[in-house]
Amino acid sequence: MSADRTDATGPTNAVEAHGVEVTLGGSRILLGVDVVVPAGEVVALLGTNGSGKSTLVRALLGAVPLSAGTVHLLGEPLGPRAPWSRIGYVPQRMPASSGVSATAVEVVASGLLHGRALRPPRGWRTRVRAALDAVGMAGHERRPVQEMSGGQQQRVLIARALVREPELLVLDEPTSGIDVPTQATFVDTVARLHGQGATVVVILHELGPFEPLIQRAVVLRHGRVVHDGLPPRPRLDHAGATHHHEHAHHDPDPPPTGPALGPTLGPTLGMEAP
């Protein structure tokens, strides 16, 4: 990405959201969330399942309606005039198949449409090929995505976001349930885009392989921001990415079902019911 592009967006924030509230199906999912991401930063969105991370990301991109609050993306208010051509979104997974096949090229080409651009631009095939090549999927262009493994489908979804050459990339749990090479592809992609001056917002369950890239973490809990600052660092000698659990601590307790319960339950079962 060129320097003048960075200058143009330099003083503005890539994401600026204030007082974001989202109500879905009568439940208040987000309660007054403020998130500001300066251009060029790599921010992790952390939180447990159900804390509102995915909803926040979808609200920031206009995929779910806001019940209150304002969102600006790359300096423009959310809406038809937002600079959609400079924003890339990678959802958690490919939607379930409806039975009609779609090739990798067809799915990635859909990433070239945005905002008011309802038809792919000229030379779209070259751009689609380049995006698939960048995620290591060259040679799979004409394969139906329904026949691909989960990791390959994820790569196609990254390619669909990359094909726009985004300045703001938003990823929803890119590493959950994904094979090691694909995780590496995600990290490489984020590192490369970051190196070119792009802003990255990534939802993570744990920092994992993204750890070296993350500059800031926003932690959500029960629909509110509970931490916004340095990413939580693992304690020394524990839980680091390079740390291996080789020390001889005892095995975790078996789950409370199955034959392992026998000895514990035995006496209890022998007792008379109160």
Binding site: T103, L113, V180
Partner: protein, 306 residues
């Protein structure tokens, strides 16, 4: 069948109109059907067809009031209006998420038929007047009907093919489409309107009760073999034209109803295509569906332990 018989068939003006109608419907309906199947709204055509019946009766009623001859001059315009309004309503209901898509469709099914039967009585007709719309009467297609069909089919083709990438995007992954700033509501309404227009185009050929079959069954056949969205659409369209023309030609020599013949033929083709699929289709290359995860279990070999 001799060559003379074919020439005789093709020189009959009635058959010429019927064949043109069958080609128009066979080509356009599966194009819209491909988007509907991908959007998991395969039954939408049925819902619209039922509502269009109310439109037919409404057109008839207005024709009676205005003393038009014949009374059903406004039947097709009435069906177009009712189908378009009905399809937009169903899309908005679905989007609001107040009622589930299939429940909204069910309401349309019942309301459409009941409204049609009620209004046709008010218009001074009988239920028998509706039969040709319910089951199709391709042999009575007039030149005016044909012009309507040509215009509507052209509109469906231009919009459906011109916006195919956008309609594919919103049908394949609606959330991504919304997160890309695409006007998803307008695209969904466009698709619903295309479906409504297709229903009214196909109405005279296969009838409102079977209209959805010509949109959906060719897609079901095509998706058994086609490995891309674009090819599914083309193959469905070609299949649609083939079964419509063959079905119609069969009815020229046999006294059987054209609409039902076309649909039964299409379903027979589906059955054969599905039966032959394991033998004909390229095998899917084998891959291990289990991903290699970083926290995978690693088994230590006994002899490497101390």
């Amino acid at each position: 069948m001799s060559w003379d018989a074919v020439v005789e068939m093709l020189s009959s003006p009635l058959m010429q109109r019927a064949l043109l109608a069958a080609i128009l419907v066979g080509a356009t309906a599966p194009i819209v059907g491909t988007f509907l199947v991908q959007r998991r709204m395969a039954l939408m055509g049925d819902g619209i067809g039922h509502v269009a019946l109310t439109g037919v009766a409404l057109g008839w009623l207005i024709g009676t009031w205005a003393d038009l001859v014949p009374q059903d001059t406004l039947a097709i315009p009435g069906a177009v209006v009712a189908a378009v309004v009905g399809s937009i309503v169903i899309e908005l209901v679905r989007e609001r998420g107040r009622t589930s898509g299939d429940l909204a469709l069910a309401l349309m099914f019942y309301g459409g038929i009941a409204g049609g039967v009620l209004l046709i009585k008010v218009a001074g007709g009988t239920n028998a007047s509706l039969v040709s719309y319910l089951f199709g009467s391709i042999s009575t297609v007039s030149t005016t009907d044909l012009w309507w069909m040509v215009a509507l089919a052209a509109l469906v083709l231009v919009v459906g093919i011109g916006l195919r990438v956008a309609l594919f995007t919103v049908s394949h992954d609606e959330e991504f489409a919304r997160a890309s700033g695409l006007p998803t509501r307008w695209l969904a309404i466009t698709l619903a309107t295309l479906a409504a227009l297709t229903v009214t185009v196909a109405m005279r050929v296969v009838g409102l009760l079977l209209v959805s079959a010509i949109m959906i069954v060719p897609v079901a056949i095509a998706q058994l073999y086609a490995r891309s969205f674009g090819r599914t659409m083309v193959a469905a369209s070609v299949t649609g034209v083939s079964v419509s023309v063959v079905g119609l030609v069969l009815t020229y020599w046999n006294d059987i109803p054209p609409g039902a013949t076309i649909v039964v033929l299409a379903i027979a083709v589906y059955a054969v295509a599905a039966g032959l699929r394991p033998a004909l289709r390229r095998p899917v290359p084998a891959h291990d569906p289990h991903p290699d995860l970083p926290d995978d279990v690693v088994l230590a070999r006994e002899d490497t332990r101390d």
